[in-house]
């Protein structure tokens, strides 16, 4: 087995036991342990955790369900699988997360990673709405944005030392984290994201959001708008420093090329500020409430 294969195998072995984010675990446990949980609450709590969202979509798209069309919407998964199945799945994922939280997220602070993911999801969805993407498809934009950096989790956990160095290098050079990952880990988070997406059988559009949000021009025509939207939402989130996933220095030519793909100007994003902030506040309130109740 060569080095690349070995790296892939390490990541693939880790994917199935990838824990939920500890930021959301308390709320997940509370919502899912309650016999009176509503579908709205369940959808909401899961959609605030990229790992859990991935796990639920994995379940419905997995071979067990062998459905003809891949599902990329949590609401659909909840109706089809039922509240109990989804609750139990969320509980088992959350418990793993609660046990495993000390060992993971050594270099990337988890709360900041969570805020970054949420913000990219919310921004992608708001961009979709602003550009009149049909409402039935907007959930996919949220999921694509929410999950886009999932590939960083195995890198950060399985190769903690190298990943810390990659983050330092990107910070020192004020450059691309993707390149630093390639140099120091040997796998970047786009590729790791693709491995996750393929193993979990996520919809191709979501896989491309994970794999190509730093190169949306490579996405096939039918998914390019989604991937470019996620890429733009990611840059927006990084520029305004909402949370952090280690990628602090967006390159201007890249930003320009995405705006070009989407036919937008940077100024068009200004009206998003308020929407994004409101959504982020709501999510934080939703989660923090629990911490108070449990403290």
């Amino acid at each position: 087995m060569d080095i690349a294969e070995q790296l892939h195998k390490t990541i693939q072995d880790y994917i199935d036991r990838m824990p939920s984010l500890s930021t959301t675990v308390t709320k997940v446990l509370e919502v899912c342990n309650s016999p009176k949980t509503s579908a709205n609450d369940l959808n909401r709590v899961i959609s605030l955790d990229p790992v859990l969202t991935g796990h639920v979509l994995k379940l419905i798209n997995s071979a067990y369900y062998s459905l003809p069309n891949q599902v990329s919407s949590l609401a659909r998964a909840i109706i089809m699988l039922g509240l109990n199945t989804v609750k139990n799945l969320a509980l088992s994922t959350a418990v793993v997360g609660a046990l495993g939280k000390k060992s993971c997220f050594t270099a990337l602070p988890m709360d900041a990673f969570w805020a970054h993911s949420i913000c990219v999801g919310v921004t992608a969805k708001a961009l979709a709405a602003a550009r009149s993407v049909p409402s039935a498809q907007r959930e996919e934009y949220f999921v694509g944005g929410m999950l886009h950096d999932l590939g960083k989790i195995p890198l950060n956990t399985c190769f903690a030392e190298e990943y810390a160095q990659a983050l330092q290098l990107a910070a020192l050079e004020q450059g691309s984290l993707l390149r630093a990952e390639q140099l120091l880990v040997g796998v970047d988070h786009g590729l790791a994201g693709r491995l996750i997406g393929e193993k979990w059988r996520l919809a191709p559009s979501i896989i491309d959001s994970l794999a190509l949000h730093h190169a949306p021009e490579q996405a096939p025509d039918e998914y390019r708008d989604l991937v470019a939207t996620v890429a733009l939402a990611n840059l927006y989130t990084n520029i305004y420093e909402i949370g952090s996933a280690g990628d602090m220095f967006p390159e201007t030519p890249f930003l320009m090329s995405i705006l070009d793909i989407m036919g937008l100007r940077w100024a068009d994003l200004m009206p998003l500020h308020e929407i994004v902030q409101v959504e982020l506040d709501k999510a934080q309130v939703f989660l923090k409430l629990t911490e108070r109740e449990n403290s």
Binding site: N40, Y64, Y65
Partner: protein, 305 residues
């Protein structure tokens, strides 16, 4: 096809003086073919014990027993008869067990055979004399040989659950239990604080699509064995989300989908023979002109298709 009900109850066996007529055993249905030496069993509820005893007297003297068991799902009332199915203790028996398995990592063998551990039962799975194989079944269409075609469809139950559609020489037997109509689980009242328009719309769309697919699955069945655990009056106030169907809905589906005979099945264990007789006077008449013949499935009853 000859279809025989060996167990018709839901949830738990309920033997006693008030269940003699309709039967107290949990789900077990046998299919035989007049011109084929094959037997198919659907579900291994407590009715399987009686069926096993019958097979010991009827089939074993003619030669080794070979059979296939299709489990709708692995809730206890659908697998509890397995340890008491006498053919599993006969070395010459060959059994294939098929069924759906949820996301938990246990295999079908562990789930069904797991009842046979010392904790629950004096004989261990490993000690069984028969040759038993297990296969995880998914949604799809399968050629079972001899001209028998099986279509499987996921149903709406709190665990992964399959409906079966067996077709042979133009005749169709379809099972759809344990199941409940899909519903929009999301809040649809804009005045509620948790209301979310997109969730509400998508929930509505998905529920409608899934119900349509479920109805399509039973279309044109010569015999549809459908979940009918509750009346609409029992269902609405407190049983929503339990994974069972009101009789009224089962009848409406059968009427809409040109079903010829509808066996109301998976009976509520609290329901007595007397209550069934009363319900029968009303519900059996609801097929309408040219509509399905409707009856409450009775243990021991055989239907020829």
């Amino acid at each position: 096809m000859r279809v025989k009900f060996w167990g018709v109850r839901g949830s738990i066996p309920c033997p006693g003086p008030h269940t003699c007529k309709y039967g107290g055993n949990t789900a077990c249905i046998e299919i035989r073919f007049d011109d084929l030496p094959r037997q198919i069993i659907i579900d291994a509820g407590s009715g399987l014990r009686e069926l096993g005893n019958f097979m010991m007297g009827h089939d074993l003297p003619k030669g080794p027993i070979t059979t296939s068991i299709y489990l709708s799902h692995t809730h206890w009332d659908h697998i509890m008869g397995f340890p008491f199915f006498t053919p599993i203790y006969i070395p010459s028996t060959r059994i294939e067990v098929f069924g759906p398995v949820s996301h938990e990592r246990d295999t079908l063998e562990t789930i069904v055979g797991g009842q046979m551990t010392y904790r629950y039962f004096p004989v261990r799975q490993a000690e069984l004399a028969a040759s038993i194989s297990y296969a995880n079944l998914k949604e799809g269409r399968f050629d079972l040989g001899d001209g028998i075609v099986l279509t499987t469809k996921y149903l709406n139950h709190p665990i992964l659950c399959l409906g079966y559609r067996f077709e042979y020489q133009g005749k169709v037997l379809c099972t759809a239990y344990d199941t409940e109509p899909y519903q929009n689980l999301f809040c649809t009242d804009p005045n509620e604080p948790e209301y979310d328009e997109l969730m509400a719309i998508e929930g509505e769309t998905v529920a409608r699509e899934q119900n349509e697919a479920l109805e399509h699955f039973v279309t044109g069945a010569d015999l549809l064995v459908h979940d009918a655990q509750y009346t609409a009056g029992e269902y609405a106030p407190s049983k929503v989300g339990w994974g069972h169907t009101p009789m009224e809905t089962a009848i409406a589906v059968a009427r809409r989908r040109q079903v010829k005979r509808l066996a109301l099945f998976h009976h509520e264990p609290m329901r007595t023979d007397g209550q069934f007789d009363l319900l029968c006077q009303d519900y059996a008449q609801r097929g309408g002109e040219g509509g399905p013949e409707i009856f409450f499935a009775r243990e021991g009853e055989e239907i020829i298709l």
